[in-house]
């Protein structure tokens, strides 16, 4: 089949303003959008710039807007998006070049929620791992799946409005550790996510849940954090 790719282009060294370029390619319906982007870069314009790494939906590098919706190019098949495909960078972050955006505001918010295991208690007497039941592990299983692709945060209108809103991805990271029975910094993280630019700015739009390529129930996780601030229950 013949596919028409309309791609957002911006070269800060040449362009004062972004523009779109159109490429017509032969493609199989079962090919991925990432394959088409590689073909554009390899055979049409070597200056075309985008991020990609594992190409198998694990690294989260190639999140972009495909036909107006945040997706991973490596997990999106041509047959799922049709013969006319518009490719644009993620919204709400500064475009550096073509599809590459400045991820720093995203990671800055991520770092704010202390996204790492905190436990100052002495190790168990046998010196081995801190044990956890399957039920305790299941409590935060969904939010362990995040790959930090930023598809959720950059689909969120509250984040578009203000960089300082923590955003869904940071709240997912907070959820992952707050509900971990082995972690001891839940109170500290709840204080952080309850600040002015945290939980209360989630208006349950559900864009994040729809955008997540890992199908994490993000709005539900944020709801659980909201409930935790009032009930204090962490299990």
């Amino acid at each position: 089949m013949q596919v028409t790719l309309k791609i957002f282009r911006f070269n800060p060294e040449k362009d004062r303003k972004f523009h779109y370029e159109t490429y017509t390619l032969e493609a199989e319906p079962t090919e991925r959008v990432l394959d088409l982007l590689e073909r554009v870069k390899g055979y049409h314009d070597g200056t075309f710039t985008f991020r990609r790494s594992c190409a198998h939906g694990v690294c989260g590098s190639d999140a972009m807007r495909i036909n107006g919706r945040n997706r991973l190019a490596c997990k999106t098949l041509v047959q799922d998006v049709g013969e006319r495909i518009t490719i644009e960078p993620l919204l709400g972050l500064r475009v550096i070049k073509d599809l590459v955006v400045d991820m720093e505001p995203f990671f800055e918010n991520y770092r704010k929620v202390l996204p790492y295991f905190i436990n100052e208690s002495p190790l168990p007497e046998d010196g081995r791992e801190r044990l956890q039941s399957p039920e305790e592990r299941a409590r935060f299983d969904d939010t362990t799946k995040c790959i930090l692709c930023a598809a959720c945060t950059t689909s969120c209108p509250s984040f578009w409005a203000s960089d300082d809103y923590l955003g869904p991805a940071a709240l997912v990271a907070a959820h992952r550790f707050i509900f971990d029975s082995r972690d001891e910094a839940a109170a500290q993280r709840l204080q952080i996510v309850a600040e002015t630019s945290g939980l209360a700015r989630c208006h349950t739009v559900f864009n994040c849940t729809m955008a997540c390529p890992r199908e994490i129930q993000i709005t539900k996780a944020i709801g659980e954090l909201k409930m935790a601030t009032i009930t204090g229950k962490l299990d």
């Binding site: 209108p157 409005a161 109170a187 309850a194 209360a200 601030t229």
Partner: protein
């Protein structure tokens, strides 16, 4: 087995921002209840035959006897009780604070600078307090 993990009240991050978030949700539910009470009350007291839709809606959102003075309701006494004044006052205070807080939240999306947000909050309080006092004065002196 999962062991119960509970945080004490002062460690839950339950700050003013989160309290207002809960208040906005709960006040919406409370307003539904108040509207139902007011509309049912109005219907029981004669609105079925003596008030048009606009009067019923005014009664629903501001149950106050002056809202029926211009209608054909012959007896205003049942409308001017303390019950309806309290009900009207609750509706006024909940609606005003719910609405003004909603506006503040929306404006936060347009003003990211901290000082502008503080200014918006100060202006919203300046608006909310006198308007609530005027509303209460009308309700309790009519």
């Amino acid at each position: 087995m999962m062991k119960g993990r509970n945080l004490p009240l002062n460690q839950r991050g339950l700050n003013f921002e989160m309290l207002m978030w809960y208040f906005t949700r709960l006040s919406a539910l409370a307003m539904y209840v108040l509207v139902l009470v007011a509309v049912i009350g109005a219907l029981l007291m004669g609105a079925r035959t003596q008030m048009n839709l606009a009067d019923v809606l005014r009664w629903a959102f501001m149950p106050n006897s002056i809202h029926v003075q211009s209608t054909n309701v012959p007896d205003l006494a049942p409308w001017a009780t303390t019950f309806w004044k309290v009900s009207g006052s609750l509706m006024l205070l909940l609606a005003a604070s719910h609405g003004v807080h909603g506006v503040v939240v929306v404006l936060d999306d347009y003003f990211a600078q901290k000082w502008v947000r503080q200014l918006v909050r100060a202006l919203s309080i300046l608006f909310l307090v006198p308007m609530s006092i005027i509303g209460l004065y009308v309700l309790w002196t009519s």
